[in-house]
């Protein structure tokens, strides 16, 4: 294992800003795995740390095959993590809206450029990602449909779902999109949480990556075989929204199987505890996403359902 500094600059009153990478194996640039880009992505850092530990062991045991360099970057943004701010410390910009970056531009454009320059030549790119809303996911690989996406590869992670979505305007400035444009096979991996550490789900994510690496002949690894992934287009998700605003009392969790008509949650009047809306499943489905905040705004997507069961 080799530690490298991917990008850094001098702070005025803070320690230097540093993005650190951990390199394993030798030879061609094979796989790059990235953790948090935002200040609240604790689970993403933690998942990477488990992966670093595993790869370190596999390297010592000689189980990384010749001709493969692997890079793990647990955190692209320690400055925001350490002050518990989601986006960039001074100007609130999002590094994951700055790719491919610009080395003569503003700070977060430079960080994106500095990172991208180092990671754009890998054959595979895997990012532990987070959703913009607070909530829990059923573990999944997400891919953007750029024309370069390879669904069969994504299934090799053995996670329950592979989700495909069409890029929206802002997606064109994300790492995943630019990786694909630069012909890296890019995957976003969603474990169940972001701001809270879920150890089981983190281990499942790490196992999925190791399984993928083994199937691609990069490492020797015998983990759980995982699932035979179901491929879903994101527009086939059924969003179950609140019509009312109030306190959310959920009855089901991400990963649950639900029956048509089953109560998913109640919206409760915050002052009188009266039920103001009963939210039910519109079809038999798997709960793919569960919103996690006690306050429900009107029209918030509280659940995303994938029709069918498992």
């Amino acid at each position: 294992m080799k530690e490298t500094i991917i990008y850094s600059f001098k702070g005025l009153y803070r320690d230097d800003f540093r993005v650190k990478g951990y390199e394993f194996g030798s030879g061609g640039k094979s796989v790059c795995i990235l953790g948090s880009m935002r200040g609240n992505e604790y689970q993403q850092i933690y998942s990477c740390s488990l992966l670093v530990k595993k790869l370190k062991k596999l390297e010592v045991e000689g189980k990384i095959k010749d001709g493969h360099t692997l890079m793990v970057i647990p955190c692209c943004n320690p400055y925001s993590v350490n002050i518990k701010k989601r986006f960039w410390s001074i100007d609130n910009t999002d590094i994951n809206r700055m790719f491919p970056g610009y080395d003569k531009g503003e700070t977060t454009q430079r960080i994106a450029a500095g990172i991208f320059e180092n990671i754009k030549d890998y054959k595979y790119g895997i990012q532990f990602a987070s959703f913009y809303m607070p909530g829990h996911f059923v573990p999944q690989i997400r891919m953007m449909k750029t024309g370069n996406e390879k669904v069969e590869l994504a299934k090799k992670f053995g996670l329950p779902f592979v989700v495909l979505h069409n890029p929206r305007p802002f997606d064109t400035a994300t790492l995943n999109y630019n990786w694909q444009i630069w012909e890296t096979d890019a995957f976003s991996i969603y474990t169940s949480s972001t701001e809270k550490i879920d150890k089981i789900s983190a281990r499942q994510g790490v196992n999925a990556i190791l399984t993928f690496l083994a199937k691609e002949g990069i490492i020797e690894y015998q983990g759980f075989a995982g699932f035979s992934s179901k491929v879903v287009e994101s527009d086939k998700f059924i969003s179950i929204r609140a019509n009312a605003a109030g306190i959310l009392d959920p009855m089901v969790k991400a990963g649950d199987n639900v029956m048509q008509g089953q109560v998913l949650a109640y919206i409760i009047d915050p002052y009188t505890a009266e039920i103001i809306q009963t939210i039910t499943a519109t079809t038999d489905a798997v709960v793919a996403f569960e919103y996690d905040s006690p306050m429900a705004y009107k029209n918030t997507a509280l659940f995303k359902l994938i029709p069918g069961g498992w």
């Binding site: 005025l12 531009g105 430079r110 915050p270 705004y297």
Partner: protein, 324 residues
Amino acid sequence: MSELIENIEDVVRFPLPVDEEFVIKRHRIEPSGENIGKRICIVTGIHGDELEGQYVCYEIARRIRRDSLSLKGIVDIYPAMNPFGIDSITRGIPAFDLDMNRIFPGNFDGDMNEFTASMIVKELEGADLVIDIHASNIFLTEIPQIRINEKSEKELVPIAKKANMDLIWVHGASTVLESTLAYSLNSRGTNTLVVEMGVGMRITPDYGEQLADGIISIMSELGIWEGEVPKTKEAIVAYDADGDDVCYLNAPCSGIYMKEKEHGAIVRSGESVGKIIDPLSGDVLADIKAPENGMIFTVREYPVVEEGSLMGRILREKVLNGES
């Protein structure tokens, strides 16, 4: 005698979780007499910490009331498209960490923000002109200017020239900007101008009056105003689709930026425009010099910089000479 008809109405209204309603309001002013049926919309407050447009909204209403017989069409004023942001000194939408100007055209069936964005587009679509007033951000001061996506150049530059601004900056298209209000409206055939002027969190009354003069001039051009029209200035037009008209001053290191030139200053190549200092060591970390002849049209207002922070933008001399 013709009187004005004035109404303050909701654009959207819906309940929030705890005993409050979310509401965006519109002030409509129209003549009770002859009305040519044309409509101009004055929009501001999409970024909650940009307040320059607040004074313009007030000033336009004041000028119309002062000379009420001159109004011949509809003037709709929307001072707060992001009321949560204005209330909490937040650029984006608090509680959602979203830039409101990245969610248009919205989605009627989406969450409250997407729904709101879709209602705003529905509300403004079909107007004869929309003016969306921004104020740079809290970091930079801008001379009064209109920014136009090259895709809408043909429709918008002639109108923008009547707006009494110092600069019209026609910039290159970018996919990311497709989710702005202006892009959504222009692509639906509703002409929309984006004004950037002054600085975040402050109001510059001179700029407000300059723009109000420009709006009255545009209203006259549209036939909505038959009263006196203030004399307007001719803007410098930068046709900068290739990014060749402007040079950027980015901080070479972190420190405290002491500007030495104000926005609007003409500078020569090699001339000092500011310094980056280190108050801890007492050292000058960098002397910032103009890389070329031109005009500083953006200047850093917030002194703390880190490597890469924008300290200013210079409009190249050739543009000032009309060779854009």
